[in-house]
Amino acid sequence: MIVAGVDIGAATAKAVILSDDKVLSSSVIPTGYSVVMAAEAVTKEALLRSGLSMSQLEYIVSTGYGRRAVSFANKALTEIICHAAGVSSLMPQARTIVDIGGQDSKVIGLDADGNVSNFVMNDKCAAGTGRFLEVMAGVLGVEISEMGAISLLGKEPCQITSTCTVFAESEMVSLRAEGKSRENILAGINKALVHRIAIMGQSVGFREKVAFTGGVAKNIGIRKALEDGIGLKIWVPEEPQIIGALGAAILAKTELASLTQIR
């Protein structure tokens, strides 16, 4: 059976096409201003890569903050449920997921069956999210993709006390004026972000294995800081950004299977 998962996040839209257990293709595009258009575009791109057409998709699950705008989906499920399914399929031993996306961050607890047992999400503020890193990269004139590698060179992380993105931005400006190195400032940013995640996740608890997903998981500096911050080794999937879409596709398969059974 051929199914799709479409994850419309605040910053990027993701799609995964699944044939039974095999990932046929995936795609990631910026969400832009129209979630409806992004949903269509990202699905079409993934279809193109697998040489399939829309009509061949037997079931589609949408997820992410724009999940309800995906008119062609058969079902909408939250990104928390989908991340759990995505991570469990790749790493069944995972008991905690740290997901840091463009606009929000979450810590999800999993039970032995890989189901969500508990979760926390950040509030409407951008602190502790990909957006926070984006703003800081802008201030420091660094490419987002380079941020992680540069930050690892910072041996004396600056102390960044503001968790608010706007205040942190002005803190950045003063640190620069004090002549602090970019490396140390970036290392400090990572520490500040992870600190926030660690506090937020306290009510869920961090239990091994800890999976790290979302676009920010591509940042090697944050990975390192997260391991130091929670004192546990973390596991990062090969493509951390598409785990929500992958989970949605897996759940699409389950939904379809149960429908076929009923028939």
Binding site: T78, I80, I81, N115, V116, N118
Partner: protein, 383 residues
Amino acid sequence: MEIMHKLASHLKTRLVELNRAKQQGRKIVGYTPGGYLPEELILASGAIPICLIRGGDHSVVELTGAYLCRWIDTFCRAQIGYAVSGDDPYYSIVDLLAIPITDNHIRAISDITDHSTDIEVFPFGVPHMKEESTFSYYLHGITRLKAKLEALTGTEITKPKLREAISLCNRERELFREISLMRKSGPVPISSRDFVALNHASFLADKEVMVEILESLYKELKGRIALPDGHPRILLTGSTLAMGDSRVLDLIDEAGGEVVIEEFAEGIRPYWENVNPDGDLMKALAECYFMQRVPPAWFRPGNERRDFLIKLAKDFNVDGVIWYQLMYRESYKTESYYFPDKLKRDTGLRMLTVESDYDPSEMGPLRTRIETFIETIRGKRHG
């Protein structure tokens, strides 16, 4: 339900009715919700009680920014916004605003209303522990209120009048209790939205009309056969569920959950206990409104409320608990961190905490949290 329409039309004309009563010389006494104000005293003085229970609107919350520090509870900031802006006609109509000071947030309503409006405010303190000395303190507070009401209306609150008011209010509580208990297990004959609407209406409606409506609703519900539904059953608890703040109830509904019991410090009338109509009536009022009242999260120790929540969860056969707190009500925030462990230990149930500042931008994350929670319960039930 025809009865709900009848209630809605009563509320529609309520302000006109109140204005007319006021012109004829009746006094209207407002009070803040929280369950510590014996309406019986107001009724027995011949005045009309009105509870100020509106909320859910962010724009009035913002209005208070000029004279309040940000970390005052959202509902309380909203009340101040209504009072000072004159946006709520119920605030403009009251001759006296009686405020049982339950915590610092409610105190802010009292202070700012007193300072910034022409409304006469009558505050009295509510202690945070239950013992002999605090019982006397509370009794002293409502005794002062009694004298104040007598002075305001020029009517003596006699024992027969007070007893009559107690019996009317007891009947109202009894009916709420009986209707609520119909939701203990199996199919639910009344939705939480309707039950909450009834509760909110009871804060504004004429007491006799309200009791009449509840009587006929009770009869109707008893004869009704509800269909089994299989939706996850939810205990909804928290600090304040205001009139007009239906977002969480709506989202639970949309996600396929069914709230079967509500427990709030403010917004749901305490209906579990009645006032003893014999003996010393003032003491009986204090006994029911202070000693027997299940205390909110700011009481200490907090185990009475926690135990009560566990009992509700078991009695009403729920599948999960949703804890809805408003921003900056620190007592609820603290309890929301400790309570899930006890809940899990005693019942095996999970709890979701959601928080609001009545801000429309919270809608997306709120929906994600509630949908996920209901979905995980459903997944667990189906194994």
